[in-house]
Symmetry: C2
């Protein structure tokens, strides 16, 4: 008791009490307190209660660094958002993914260490940092084809989960949605609504979602016997501005379109404004479908039909897979593909009343 008071007052900063002090107050050994704190079953009820009382009394909180030093675990997970473009600034995708990840990690008392390398040199520093083993695992979001990170991290033997699906074949766990199937259902919906000249504003083709959604678009056209036509396909980045520009190109090349499948809601929003400016009515003249079902989808005019992807759940799954691979002896990469759902709104209503 006296002892506890001899440490300088500034110790309020560090959280104060140590295992040793709790042990003294509870009248047991350090080892026993450690057992109680870590939930070991080999402690009798009386002793357990005495220790818990002492813990409460002293406001004891384990020192993370000391624990890490001996367990060789940092109890922290890095989330790397390696998005060089402006996408990260405009798309609500990342905050939602982070929220999902954050919820799962904090439920397991794991720290979320956020890394946002914004240049090539920073990406290398990030790779060094991760390879040094400062974290127990890595979650890599927004994976582009040319990203050197997965290779470096894998080489260092650090557990990792990426999203979206990497396009180069590699032995890594990933989480993704059924982009191809989702795009397919969106376009099939347009076909069913009587549309015949269906264009697409695809996403960037250096990452899986861009490529897969384009593939799904083509699938649906093929299924409908419409065949695909390069002049109906334009590419944009995942931004509203990019969507607007792409739509302008599309309209000047093919003024006869009666439907557009956009690879994201932001792209669709850009397309919508260009369509309106060109004097076309949506959905009467041109139907539009987006992808994401982000908040913007319900506030466009008209409200946007969109392929919903469960973003928070993707975050949960990424965290779950990573935790499994850290804890389990399970070395085999695992893949999780989540389903999408078409949310029908005004922007894709049938051309004529059925």
């Amino acid at each position: 008791m006296e002892e506890a008071l001899t440490t300088p007052g500034r110790d309020s900063r560090t959280g104060g009490a140590t295992l040793e002090q709790v042990a003294k107050v509870a009248g047991v050994s350090r080892a026993t307190v450690s057992r109680v704190v870590n939930g070991s079953p080999r402690v009798s009820g009386d002793v357990r209660r005495a220790v818990e009382a002492a813990v409460t009394e002293l406001g004891y909180v384990p020192n993370r660094a000391a624990r890490s030093l001996v367990t060789r675990r940092s109890d922290s997970i890095a989330v790397v958002i390696a998005e060089p473009s402006g996408r990260v600034f405009s798309d609500p995708f990342f905050p939602r993914l982070l929220r999902g990840i954050s919820a799962s990690l904090s439920a397991r008392d794991l720290q979320l260490v956020l890394l946002m390398p914004s240049s090539v040199s920073e990406t290398h520093r990030t790779a060094d940092y991760l390879a040094a083993g400062h974290v127990d695992g890595v979650l890599l979001a927004s994976l582009h084809d040319d990203d050197p990170l997965p290779g470096r991290i894998a080489a260092a033997g650090i557990p990792m989960v990426v999203s979206p699906r990497p396009r180069r074949p590699m032995s890594v766990s990933y989480v993704d949605v059924d982009n191809r199937g989702g795009a397919n259902s969106a376009v099939a919906h347009l076909v069913a609504a009587g549309r015949r000249v269906i264009a697409t504003v695809a996403g960037p083709l250096d990452m899986a979602p861009g490529v897969d959604r384009l593939a799904g678009y083509r699938d649906a056209l093929l299924d409908a016997g419409l065949g695909s036509d390069p002049s109906l396909e334009v590419v944009a980045d995942f931004t509203q501005e990019g969507g607007a520009k792409a739509m302008e190109r599309l309209l000047s090349a093919r003024p006869d379109i009666d439907a557009v499948f956009a690879a994201s809601d932001l792209i669709a929003a850009g397309a919508l404004s260009v369509l309106a400016a060109s004097g076309r009515r949506v959905p009467e003249d041109v139907a539009v479908v987006g992808f994401d079902d982000s908040p913007v989808a319900s506030s466009t005019r008209p409200a946007l039909t969109s392929v919903r992807q469960p973003i928070e759940e993707m975050g949960h799954e990424m965290a779950r897979l990573l935790i499994d691979s850290i804890e389990g002896a399970d070395r085999a990469p695992r893949r999780v593909i989540l389903a999408t759902e078409l949310i029908r709104r005004a922007s894709s209503a049938g051309r004529r009343v059925p």
Copy 2:
């Protein structure tokens, strides 16, 4: 040398080499290696070079936990985004702020630990976590009036910087922009463009930006001798949907307005779509000015005049203030107010050609 090889191979995970091993290879003591690694000047050139060679050869990286244990520093900073509403999902504000913070922290080799409590109970857990001293400092973003976090963190004696400005007087460092001045200049611009019935869609009034931008709006009206009118003021949250709904209310109460100052670009985007749906032309019939100068401002139709706030720089300043207060003996709270800039675009062009 032999020694270095006796440790099991699985050690690749932990980064491997220790100070001890480096010392052996370099033929010096642990203490000397520590001096070199930490840049102490009291090491001769020859020895320094020998140590550096050994560090490179072994790929030595200091063990963070061991260092933390003795320095009593975690070398990590928590960033808390305590936004219960949907704002965090739609507004590009947070990713940009995070980017600014991340850049500053990683330049100082500080870990960014992200915390996103999404319920009251999680907020309490977060407070416990922070008060336990697991991080060296806290950056609190999106501060609402009723947030219990600042009080808890201050009581625990943890260095902290908040943003925006807290409305209750409290002794805490903060970073904010000149919301009132920025709003003032936006509305003055509308006045100068010949507008006379100027409304505002204000932001939430439980946080400084909402209140301050409204105050700036009133200031400008007063300066122009127009006086303020409650029927010209409506409140929305910082979303596109909220902006649209508020605009509808505004229009039905005051169909005679000829200008709108929106407290954010997302609000303005919502307002724009309602204005268009009501058959009004922008800027001919109604001028619109937003706040943020976010990416959406340049892709609305027409492009949106907006008050630019330097979001990345806010992140930098927050990090700088926090680092200063952790390192310096400087206990006095500091305040940084950044300037805004009015970016003129089509949505607020003069009513008639001058």
